[in-house]
């Protein structure tokens, strides 16, 4: 019974018999003691035989249930609890900045009574969360998905790209995507390739701490994202998140050059092999990097290539790894392989011949480094040279994630190996940085 949560069958039967539903006021009599409170849904972990009630002092406790326990209904709950927000009439409304929700921590809200988490996504919710947005730009909220970012797939990127393009054509000067942080850099890279020559930036924003917490990073992040969407001179796919642990400023990271590098810190996202495009502090945007794609004058100049070939395998290399994984990829008819190699782009000896085999079957093998930082160079050591001879494509200083997304994007346009090789090494949106600084 979903409506009760994870209670045991025995308890559910008793509750149903007494006509008790979640949030009703009940009395539990056990061992001569009485407990009065509101019935809470049982989480799906822990002991299913403990009844969870919220006492009048606000605390939740679990009361173990056995055959001698009595449960009595005292009062039905008043009114319905909040549900997910209804869709706004957004098609009618206009706004300079479109905020598209794909889910994630940032767009959730909590019912304080029950502790349940709901997606919170309407213009009203957003203004409620960060009233200061009103002083920056007019917004229109557009709910798209409500998924955890670990469940994102290239199909979702395709839809997001189309939506972004739509919004720009409708006149938005910037499009913000609220997104889970786990795979935000994948999505940001995907949209960087899929949507080019836009009249404004595509801004990905997330939160490491949910907005029900007063300490949430969502507030500063969202405000900074809207500022970026409105005021940035560039039209790139970017990620806006805290620049440091303090609530002082956010960085605007180029999507194809960023990565989530900490599981929990507010400043988990860093620019890798590049300098952040900008810093947003005290309501202003300060450009830090002159290398950017500027806004197009006409919204109709926008170029949409929103297809991704999902059959690409990302393989992390490690001592003793079984090179047969490449054979497996060939047999399963994968269209491309990205290696997250060691150091300058090296693999154990036995793997080289499998790379050769894949290439001979017309499957591009792109080489990146698990060092994350630095440029791949297959000319320096012998193993690298062997890989070149085998036909591998060295991916300069692209992160494994960006190379993966780029290869998926290219393979959706052409399967011709030499064309793929050329396009992987072409710099579309500054995903390759020829000049790495200290």
């Amino acid at each position: 019974m979903e409506k009760y949560g994870g209670y045991s069958q025995e308890i559910i039967e008793v509750l149903e018999k007494e006509g008790i539903e979640i949030y009703d006021k009940i009395k539990i009599i056990k061992n001569g003691k009485e407990y009065v409170g509101l019935l809470m849904p049982r989480p799906f972990y822990g002991d299913p035989c403990c009844i969870v009630i919220k006492l009048s002092n606000g605390y939740n406790i679990g009361v173990a249930f056995n055959e001698k326990t009595k449960v009595i209904l005292l009062e039905k709950s008043t009114g319905t609890r909040s549900r997910a927000t209804e869709v706004d009439e957004l098609e009618k409304s206009t706004g300079e900045v479109a905020i598209v929700n794909t889910g994630g921590t940032i767009s959730s809200k909590v019912d304080y009574l029950t502790g349940a988490v709901y997606p919170a996504f309407s213009t009203k919710d957003l203004y409620g969360m960060v009233p200061e947005i009103k002083n920056i730009a007019s917004i229109r909220a557009r709910p798209l998905f409500n998924i955890l970012s670990e469940d994102m797939t290239p199909k979702h990127w395709e839809i997001m790209a189309k939506v972004a393009c739509e919004e720009f054509k409708k006149g938005a000067i910037g499009v913000v995507f609220t997104h889970g942080t786990d795979t935000m850099h994948f999505s940001a890279a995907a949209l960087a390739f899929a949507v080019q020559r836009a009249s404004g930036p595509i801004v990905f924003v997330g939160a490491q701490r949910s907005p029900d917490r007063p300490s949430s990073d969502a507030f500063l992040n969202l405000l900074s994202a809207v500022i970026t969407a409105k005021k940035a001179p560039f039209a790139e796919s970017v990620i806006v998140m805290h620049g440091e642990s303090s609530d002082t400023y956010c960085y605007v990271h180029r999507g194809v050059k960023s990565r989530k590098l900490h599981t929990s810190r507010r400043d988990a996202f860093k620019s890798v092999n590049d300098v952040p495009l900008a810093k947003v502090e005290n309501g202003k945007i300060i450009i830090l990097n002159d290398r950017y794609v500027p806004r197009e004058e006409k919204p109709d100049n926008i170029s949409l290539k929103a297809k991704f070939d999902e059959k690409v395998l990302l393989v992390k290399v490690y001592p003793g790894c079984n090179p047969e994984i490449i054979r497996w990829a060939i047999d399963c008819k994968y269209h491309g392989i990205v290696l997250e190699a060691t150091g300058l782009g090296h693999v154990p000896q036995p793997m080289v011949k499998y790379v050769e085999e894949a290439v001979s079957e017309g499957i591009p093998v792109a080489v990146t480094s698990q060092c994350i930082w630095g440029r791949v160079n297959l000319n320096v050591y012998r193993r690298g040279v062997e890989l070149i001879k085998a036909g591998a494509i060295p991916c300069e200083d692209m992160t494994p994630e960006t190379a993966l997304v780029k290869l998926m994007w290219i393979l959706a346009q052409t399967r011709e190996l030499e064309e793929v090789r050329e396009l992987m090494l072409k710099n579309f949106v500054y995903e390759i940085n020829e000049r790495l600084l200290l």
Binding site: G58, S82, Y112, S245, D247, S264
Partner: protein, 632 residues
């Protein structure tokens, strides 16, 4: 006290002495010198889905503060900085808390759920406190009655405030996350003495069970006080046990005085809500003022705003607690809500450089009468002064109506100051980062075995084994320092247990009656005293003197006190030589009295050596030498 319907409830917050914090693996000690990272944050008052914001939370947001967090590397990690989710609940803390619950005859719950309680004064980096209810019910037996316990909770302590300035508060994160046990009694305590007894008994129980920290600041008491017809007031932060009765007495005094004022104002038919009270700009009145505070404020761009309080002449100056008047209360409100430094009110003027003619002018501008009315003035930035005066008006309006329920802070002299409005229904929701903990009956049985022996058994042991009188045994059983008594008796077997008990119970109390600040005397001081006694380096007659000195100079050690007081013990031989001298000097008298001369000799010798050698030993020496002398 019975007749005024006094009802007091006490909430104890005791720090647990666990190896690691409640939700992370940092040590539970405070750092003296800060070495670490500094992080700046803002906290947003979150709105419930109904769009409400907790009043106390709104207050903090109005202040628009920035919080500066000192994160010492020794005593904090990413969890305290809210940069990492919490770790599993600390097992040691859970065990200690359950043992305490069992000792208080409370019922531990079957499954513990950790909650988030919204707190946005910055003392929790997350904006909430993690707290769990672990037991319900129970009681503490104070001999005359059993005071019921309502709830026992296990929660994390907050960061400690280091400093505060305009728009910014600095906290240190060493204390954040230290486990606290919270014990809340029912509000059935009916006198200050009873309250002190309850506090002593619970404090004693916590110490006897063990696993709790000691020293100033490791236990904090909050009091809920109400009298018939008064308001329900929560007083936070009563630092030490001995202050509790005074705080209660003064709060009762405050409320009784406010009730008297309320009655008078009602008889005078004073009603401030009849007409809207206006805030008026009176900066012009003070164009040429000699009042430095006003001049400086205006120079910095401030204004002087005033508000007329009709019918309140003489009321603002009325004292409601020693050293605190109604005007002092209004100043508290102004400070809390407007952030201003203080107020001026007509009952205390002319003063501070404000002249009589300025006072008259203000009354005139406000349209009030100096014979019947009062006014309040604030000189500060307009926005702050306005907010402050609005709060003053709201508080003044209540004077003929009721005593507001509020949260107050305890001052060191036992008076209290307004701190903030009572928070609304605690905004609490589940802490979903922590799994609920199932408490199985088998575990509780194990813990029960680890509880200390009940008081009846101790009583028997004290009387029969330690030789204490029944009266002293009763007293020490009720003592906050019971555990120290037992420890010292075992540690110093050559010191009389009666001396130890009597020192802890009688001597300290007697010193307190003399006005000695005995709250400065630590367990370590007392132990040190008996260490010296056991090694014959301190005579028992000198104990009160040494303790008094330490109370006034708590940073000194017992050795230093002994030296400073000239109580350095002398050797037997030195005393013996002196006795021999005296015998020769007063030989005539002594020969006359024979063996009854011992009193005379003792008198002379004690004058010189009292406190420098054990009195009984001196007497023995005198008797021996006298005997020898008489037989020569």
């Amino acid at each position: 006290m019975e007749s005024i319907g006094l009802k007091v409830g006490i909430e104890f917050h005791q720090m647990l002495d666990t190896k690691e914090k409640l939700f992370c693996n940092c040590p539970t000690s405070l750092v003296k010198e800060f070495k670490g990272s500094i992080v700046r944050r803002r906290l947003k008052a979150t709105r419930s889905e109904l769009g409400e914001v907790d009043r106390a939370a709104m207050l903090e947001e109005i202040r628009g503060r920035e919080y500066v967090y000192e994160a010492p590397h020794e005593a904090s990690c990413l969890v305290e900085l809210d940069e990492e989710p919490p770790h599993n609940i600390n097992r040691e803390a859970l065990e200690t808390a359950l043992k305490i619950a069992l000792a208080l005859h409370a019922d531990p719950v079957d499954e513990i759920h950790v909650m988030r309680k919204i707190v946005i004064d910055g003392s929790n980096t997350t904006g909430f406190q993690r707290t769990a209810l672990i037991a319900l019910g129970g009681y503490i037996d104070i001999g005359t009655k059993k005071v019921p316990i309502q709830t026992i909770c296990l929660e994390e302590d907050a960061a400690r405030k280091i400093s505060e300035s305009e728009g910014e508060v600095v906290y240190r994160l060493d204390r954040l996350g230290i486990p606290l046990i919270e014990i809340a009694t029912a509000p059935v305590i009916t006198s200050p003495e009873e309250a002190e007894l309850v506090a002593a008994k619970i404090g004693q129980l916590l110490r006897v069970i063990g696993g709790v920290k000691r020293g100033l600041g490791t236990i904090r008491q909050d009091l809920n006080i109400s009298i018939e017809g008064g308001g329900l007031v929560e007083i936070k932060g009563v630092q030490y046990l001995e202050l509790i009765p005074k705080v209660i007495e003064y709060e009762v005094m405050r409320q009784i005085n406010l009730l008297k004022i309320k009655k008078e104002l009602q008889e005078r038919k004073v009603d401030l809500t009849k007409n809207k009270v206006e805030i008026v700009d009176v900066t012009d009145v003070f164009k040429e003022t000699e009042c430095k505070i006003i001049r400086d404020s205006v120079k910095r761009g401030g204004k002087v705003l005033a508000v007329l309080l009709p019918g309140l002449k003489g009321v603002l100056g009325r004292e409601i607690q020693p050293g605190r008047r109604v005007g002092t209360e209004l100043a508290d409100y102004a400070r809390v809500w407007g952030g201003v430094k203080g107020i001026f009110h007509s009952d205390e003027l002319p003063k501070y450089g404000i002249k009589p003619d300025e006072v008259t002018k203000v009354f005139s501008v406000l349209g009030g009468s100096p014979e019947k009315d009062a006014f309040v003035l604030i000189a500060d930035k307009e926005e702050k002064a306005r907010r402050a005066l609005q709060a003053v008006i709201e508080r003044a309006e209540l004077l003929p109506i009721c005593i507001p329920s509020e949260t107050r802070g305890a001052n060191l002299d036992g008076t209290t100051h307004y701190s903030r409005p009572r928070p609304g229904a605690a905004r609490m929701y589940p802490e979903t980062d922590i799994r609920p903990v199932r408490i199985l009956p088998e575990w509780l049985e194990e813990l029960k075995k680890q509880l200390p022996e009940p008081p009846e058994i101790k009583f028997k042991k004290f009387v029969e084994e330690y030789g204490l009188s029944r009266e002293l045994a009763q007293k020490i059983l009720l003592s906050y320092r019971l555990d120290l008594f037992e420890k010292l008796v075992k540690k110093y077997p050559n010191v009389s247990p009666t001396l130890i008990a009597s020192t802890i119970e009688n001597i300290l109390k007697s010193l307190r009656r003399d006005g000695v600040p005995i709250e400065n005397i630590t367990d370590e001081h007392i132990e040190d005293v008996f260490d010296k006694v056991s090694r014959n380096m301190l005579a028992k007659e000198s104990i009160p003197e040494v303790l008094k000195y330490l109370a006034e100079n708590p940073s000194l050690s017992v050795s230093e006190a002994i030296e400073k007081l000239g109580l350095i013990k002398v050797t037997e031989d030195e005393v013996r030589d002196y006795v021999k001298e005296i015998l020769v000097k007063f030989s005539e008298e002594i020969m006359k009295r024979g063996s009854r001369a011992d009193k005379l000799v003792m008198g002379i010798v004690m004058k010189k050596y009292r406190g420098k050698l054990d009195g009984a030993l001196i007497y023995r020496i005198v008797k021996e030498e006298l005997e020898r002398y008489l037989h020569l």
